[in-house]
Homo-oligomer: 280 residues x 4
């Protein structure tokens, strides 16, 4: 399966501002790209590309005053299979976890493991360890939280989601991640493309959030918002929570004026030229 | 100058528990060590040593039920000079910062940059950029916050410090770090040894917290709690905030029953044998 | 001047639910009414009317399942003069305040006086006591907070307004009230009608919030949202904060499906019959 | 049974400060007093006594700079019976509650009913309504929260107690009250004397907190901290939460330097003279 990917984002920039973007396909998927994946920036600015401490591809640049447009279009090959399900995947005792996984057990900005630790134990502590327990967490979060874009709020933490029971996709994942960590299951936040392949289209396309947990010697995708195996996730970045993987971080004012994202199946591997066929 | 360093910490462990410790002198100071710096653990357990994503030396092990004792004693050579002061050190525009410094501008568990951004701008935004502004932040925090061990609370965030105006040393640094980041000055949390060299002894020895900011192409020490140049800081770990650099993190119950830390000047480079001359 | 007042509110009620409404004109304005001010409820239910501990007129009833409609239309005579301004009104030392005013110095659900006390002192403590200081508080809040219905959130407290700087009219008043109380100026929350008399109409009509402070032996109206003297406020209820004076409080599910409020100047004292001429 | 009651409290007052005290026995118990219950204040100041909106006896005065001493000793007759237990007491539907009870269903400073409503329903919503459900709430809170004076913190809310699981007696009651209100059971905070009559003495005497719920046409005592029927409670004040019934509220600086409370059984109704036999 081939998936066309792209975005077209505009800001009004009142004064020169440094911006870091995480809009490139994750290095772990780079070999699947069938077209260049380069950020197109108007006006032309000098861009530095680097990997952050989590292994994500970042671009940084200083935007001049005026309209800033970020866009790209590329093509990726995808197995076209749904997220794997492994009901027998087992939890590792902390002592067995790889060193790199340990940081994903700790507190982070939106995931107050300390404050939700007792709740997590009460709700899920008695469950059988392993895949089923993570799935139980996703089921709980998915059932209890009501989705709504009107509920989007940049400062909402997992504790807020737990009490207020409303949110957008990132809020679902933050609460599920926090519960997992409280049970000593490493969990990390993911952002990327997720089109409507195989499911009815319900909402305007956006970047999506999901999370990964470490079970049975590898990381597995879970998604407390959609809570079903999906086809065609294309990872952009992983981190401790949404703080680490913002699509764009501007260190000063930049007013979003346009936002369009594309991720759709395409039959033929036609080359998409970045900066030419912008998504609608 | 030579400084004797050591610690002697005991826990009661009810059930086997995985523990990560950050009790080793930071790799950046390893060449100053004049004696081995190895963690002594009783009972004997298998220990794995690794560097975390921030470059800190970590040890991990699984403690069996019963009494767990962690101790060490070592010796380090130190220039014996106070923290450098560079009133002319300039701030970098974000666009000039090194890639690795950018993460220290973001939100973290105890440092809600988003929520204190307006306050920081109102209090310090009009100040001349550079060293003086960071010093102004330290002066403000040092003056406004009242110290007290009775105010220690593991869940207190920078916002809590700002509103409640009480705390222990980590709280001072969290608030100052948050203000710096809100002004686009990279700031990272530090933990380490800080004896009473050159100052009157006022409190029982403990590990200490301070922070570093990135100005003029390097990291500089600031300390909103003591707020004066000090002699003899020995860095153990740096991270985004206290979440990243806990002295010990236990993934399950471990009750602290003894805690002693030593950092004192000594005249001769006598070798200290770890596990033999425990600090009083 | 005569003002036509009215509302037309509908809920879908899934199961019988007790409701308390504060939709009657405040007893202090009852003598100005030129038509009956009775709540019209469909379907017909038994209604109990009482004064709460703050002196507000409340109605309570149990709504059956189905559509619930609350409406009324009445007429009030109003002096047609703007909110009084008394730049020389002085603050009372707490020792001089009437007993009844003291409760309006305390913490309440949305007004964390304790947590914002230091901030209030830093921002306004040096100002000359009296009217001017309250006005300075309103100016500050009005300037710093950005209005937006998309920012409405029932759990937002004064501290949240202070950090996040967004909100709807109740949020402005909560922050201003909290600052006043922190300075020992009694402040209470008000809800009522406020039409667009004498000002350009900008938003769909809604009930409005303002607040009152006790200066110079009486209560005075302030409004940190509009921050200008207005004509035609008709008080419904006062309390410690929005918790005490919700237009409707339902003790169980009741989904709001229609909400219209009317408050407009009319030239002649035509009698408005409740339940007949519902507001558009 | 007769109970000797008293207190001896000292403050250092740096500048004249208005103080409101709630240190008198509640009007509902006035007829049981067997000696005068008057606050003794040194130095002599003019005192105004009044009932607040909750029916509590308050004293207010302005303390001059210097040492302020508040003390009293009195005697009360008490039935000597434990708190009544009525397992069959039923809950009222909200529609049946008396008007005055409705305010005790709402949010207040320390009781965020809105934020804990879902949790309360999940934990206790399926329980049989009535006495047993309130008792289940007390059992839960009593079991889950760990007591410790080192955990005292004036800004801790019910939500903080729920997440952090530590506190002093007021914290226990705040959480239990919030759960009750979320289930539409009116609950109000109480403060008063509670000696160690019939139980082993464990802690230095202090004023105590408990709460009352409205079941079966009256208010009943519950106590999530002690969680057992006790003998000899002497009510001082009730309110929505601890904000309303602080023993003393000072509107400016007043540093507590001495605090002693007495409530002990005595065999004979010897008259205690206020201001003469201060409690030890």
């Amino acid at each position: 399966m081939f998936i066309r990917l792209g975005y077209d984002i505009e800001f009004e920039v009142p004064a020169p501002v440094a911006i870091v973007s995480m809009l490139s396909v994750h290095p772990s998927r780079a070999s699947d790209l069938r077209a260049p994946d380069e950020i197109g920036i108007e006006p032309t600015v000098e861009v530095t590309s680097y990997l952050d401490g989590f292994g994500n591809r970042c671009n940084r640049f200083v935007a001049p005053p005026g309209t800033l447009r970020l866009r790209s279009a590329t093509l990726i090959e995808d197995p076209g299979t749904p997220d794997p399900v492994a009901p027998n995947a087992r939890e590792h005792p902390v002592g067995e976890l790889p060193n790199e996984a340990l940081i994903y057990l700790l507190n982070s900005r939106y995931c107050e493991v300390d404050r939700l630790s007792n709740v997590a134990t009460e709700l899920f502590g008695a469950g059988a360890p392993g895949w089923g327990r993570v799935q139980a967490i996703c089921n709980w979060v998915n059932t209890k939280v009501t989705f709504g874009y009107q509920h989007a709020r940049p400062t909402r933490t997992a504790l807020d989601v737990f009490t207020d029971r409303v949110g957008v996709c990132r809020d679902y994942q933050h609460l599920a991640i926090t519960f997992c960590r409280a049970l000593n299951i490493p969990a990390r936040y993911c952002t990327g493309y997720l089109g409507d392949i195989g499911v009815p289209l319900t909402l305007p396309m956006d970047f999506s959030a999901w999370f990964e947990v470490y079970l049975d010697d590898r990381w597995w995708v879970f998604d407390a918002r959609n809570n079903m195996p999906r086809i065609g996730r294309v990872l952009i970045a992983t981190g401790r929570d949404a703080s680490d993987v913002a699509i764009t971080t501007s260190f000063g004012a930049a007013i979003l004026t346009r936002f369009a994202v594309l991720a759709e199946e395409t039959t033929a591997p036609l080359t998409a030229a970045p900066g030419k066929s912008a998504p609608a």
